[in-house]
Symmetry: C2
Amino acid sequence: MQRAPARPGDPLAAVETPALCVDLEAFERNLDRMAHATRGIRLRPHAKSHKTPEIARAQIARGAIGVCCQKTDEAAAFVEAGIPEVLVTNEVVGPAKVRRLADLARHATIGVLIDAPAVVPLLAQTARAAGVLLDAYVEIDVGAHRCGVAPGVPAAELAGAIAAAPGLRFKGVQAYHGPAQHLRTPAERNAAVEAAAAHVRATRAALAQARIACDIVTGAGTGTWQHERDSGVYDELQPGSYVFMDADYARNVAGADALAFEQSLFVIASVMSTPAPDRAIVDAWLKAFSFDAGPPVVHGRAVAHYVKASDEHGVLRIDRGSPIGLDERIWLVPGHCDPTVNLYDFLVAIRDGIVEGIWPIEARGALG
Amino acid sequence: MQRAPARPGDPLAAVETPALCVDLEAFERNLDRMAHATRGIRLRPHAKSHKTPEIARAQIARGAIGVCCQKTDEAAAFVEAGIPEVLVTNEVVGPAKVRRLADLARHATIGVLIDAPAVVPLLAQTARAAGVLLDAYVEIDVGAHRCGVAPGVPAAELAGAIAAAPGLRFKGVQAYHGPAQHLRTPAERNAAVEAAAAHVRATRAALAQARIACDIVTGAGTGTWQHERDSGVYDELQPGSYVFMDADYARNVAGADALAFEQSLFVIASVMSTPAPDRAIVDAWLKAFSFDAGPPVVHGRAVAHYVKASDEHGVLRIDRGSPIGLDERIWLVPGHCDPTVNLYDFLVAIRDGIVEGIWPIEARGALG
C-alpha cells in the first residue's frame, strides 16, 4: 500500500513524487460536458477507468444512472461505497465469483453479461439461493471478436434461456466495440459503430420476433460515444476515459462534432539525476505507468521528451540548450489512463495549485 | 487493496483467479542455487523484484547480507519488516525524501547512490540533523547511459567530496549494467560486463590514487551475475529476478556455465468465455500483467497461446481440435516479473498443490 503523497491543503510543491494527480477544473469540465451531451439517453460511465467512488459520486450527481465495472471485486468496492446501480460489463464464471456477485445484489441493482447458455444455470441458481434477482444482458459480438454470442437469432435464443431462468431478469443487450475506440479517424470510428448498430438492429428484430422485451441496449466508449448516441439503437452509454483522457486518446483525430475533453490526469515526477546535458532521469518509470499504449508524454515542456523507461529509470531527452535541473517537477500524461490508474492507491485532486482532496482508488487491484 | 485470493491450507482449485502465485519448490531451489553459487562474495538481492519481506527473510536466512531497494518507500517497507541492511540503488533527491531516508538509518544500515556533487550537501546535512550516518556509493555509468557519473577521475572526485562530508560515509561504487541483463547471448553479456569491469578498474585506480578507501563495488543482475562474480572487481552482487524468472529472461540464451533458475512465478487465470473454437478469453489482462516485455506465455498447455490483451480481455488462440472449457484454469508466465508483481497486493505461496502462505507484497506501489 502506498503512502498518500500529500495532504489536503498542501501546495502543489509539497506533493511527493511520483504522484497521480487530477486537475479538478479540467476534470469537472469533462464531467459537465459529457452530462450535457448525453441528456436524453442513459449515461452509465465505466468505473474501470477511475476505480474511485468519489468520482462515481460526482458522475451520478450530474445525472449518471450508476456505473459499469469490469470485475466482481471492482463492483464490490462501488457497492460498498453506496453506488446503487452497477453493471459488470463482463462474463462472470465460477461458483465463488458468482456467489459474490449475487451477494452484491442484496445491496444494489447488479447487472452481468452472459454470452453462453452454459453459464445460465449457475447464475440463476446462485441468485435464487441468495434471494436476489440479477439483471442479465446478452453480450453480442459486434466486431471486436473477443467475448460475445453472434448477433441476431443466436442472441435471441440465449435471451430466451435467460428469460426462462428464475433468479435472472433479462434486461437487454451489451454491444460494445472496444477496438473502435482507438481507430484514429472519425470516419473509421463511425463505420465501426454503424456495423455494430446493424448487429444491434438484427438482434432487436430477433428478440421482437421471439416476443422477448429488450429494455436496454448498452455500449460505447470515449472514442465513439457520439456515434452510438446518434445511432438510434442504443439506450445507454458507457464511456469511462473521458474523465481523464490520455496520450493514446489524444492521438484520435476529432470529428467535426467532437467535444473537446481535456487532459485532467497527470503523473508528477521529479528529476533525480542530470548526468548529461541532453539527458534527465525522472523518478517515474515502469511501475508508475502502463506502457501498453506507449510512453507518457511530457506536458508543458516542449524541450523534454520521455524516451525510455526501465525498471529503474525514466529517461528524458532534453533539447540542446534547455537544461532541466535536479529535483525539478515534470508533468507527464499517461499513455493509457486505465491501467496507469490501477498502479496507484491514491489520486491527488488539485485545484488552483492546492491539494483539495486525496481520493482513495478503492478498486485498485480489484482483479477477481 | 485486493482481497487475498485464498487462505493458507486451501487446495489450488480454491484459489480465486486471477492470482499471483509462487511455486515454492522451484522458488526455494532458485534461492539455494544462488546462495551456493555466490559463496565467497556478498549477495545483496534486489527486492524491487519481489517487494515482499517474507522473501527477503528467506534470502537472508540463506546468507544474503541484506537487500537492495529502488525507492525510499520500498526501503521503508523492508526496514519496518526488520531487514537490517538496505541499499537504495538509486539517487534520492528533494528534502522530504532525503529526510525519510535519513530517518530509516535510525533503524537499519542504509546506503544510497550519488552521481552528482550537487546533492552531497543536502544528504549530509539531513543525515547529521537526524544523528545518523548514511552509507554513500558513487554510481558510475558503466555503459547503460542512464544515471551515473563518468568512471575514473570524475568518480573519484565525487567520492572525495562525499568522504569530506560529515553525515555520509563513502562506502564504495555502484556499477550496474541494466541493459546487459537482457542481451540474448552469453558472449554479448560477457562483453558488456567486461567493459563495465574495465570502468570499475579505472575507478578503483583513481580512488587509490586519491587515497580514498573503497570497501565495496556492487552491481550485477540475474542476466549477468556470473560474469561480475568472476570478474575479480566486484565485491557484491544484486540479482533480483532469479527468485521468480519470467518470459523475458527465458529468452536469454544460457551460457555453458549457466545455472538453471526455474520459473516459479505464475498468474493463474480462468477462462470466462469460449466464443469460438479457436478462441478462449481469460480473466487476466492489462491490469494483471505488465506488458512492457511482451505478453505472458501460457504454461503447460502447448495448444493455447496468449495473443492479445485489452483493458477487458486476455485472448487465447487455441489450436484446432483442442478445446478449452469455461472456468478452466490457465497458468501464465509473466513477460516481466518486477512490474507484474507490483500489480498485486498478495503472493499466493503454493507447495504440493496446497496454499502454504499468503505473503503480503508490502512494498507494492512504493513509488516515492
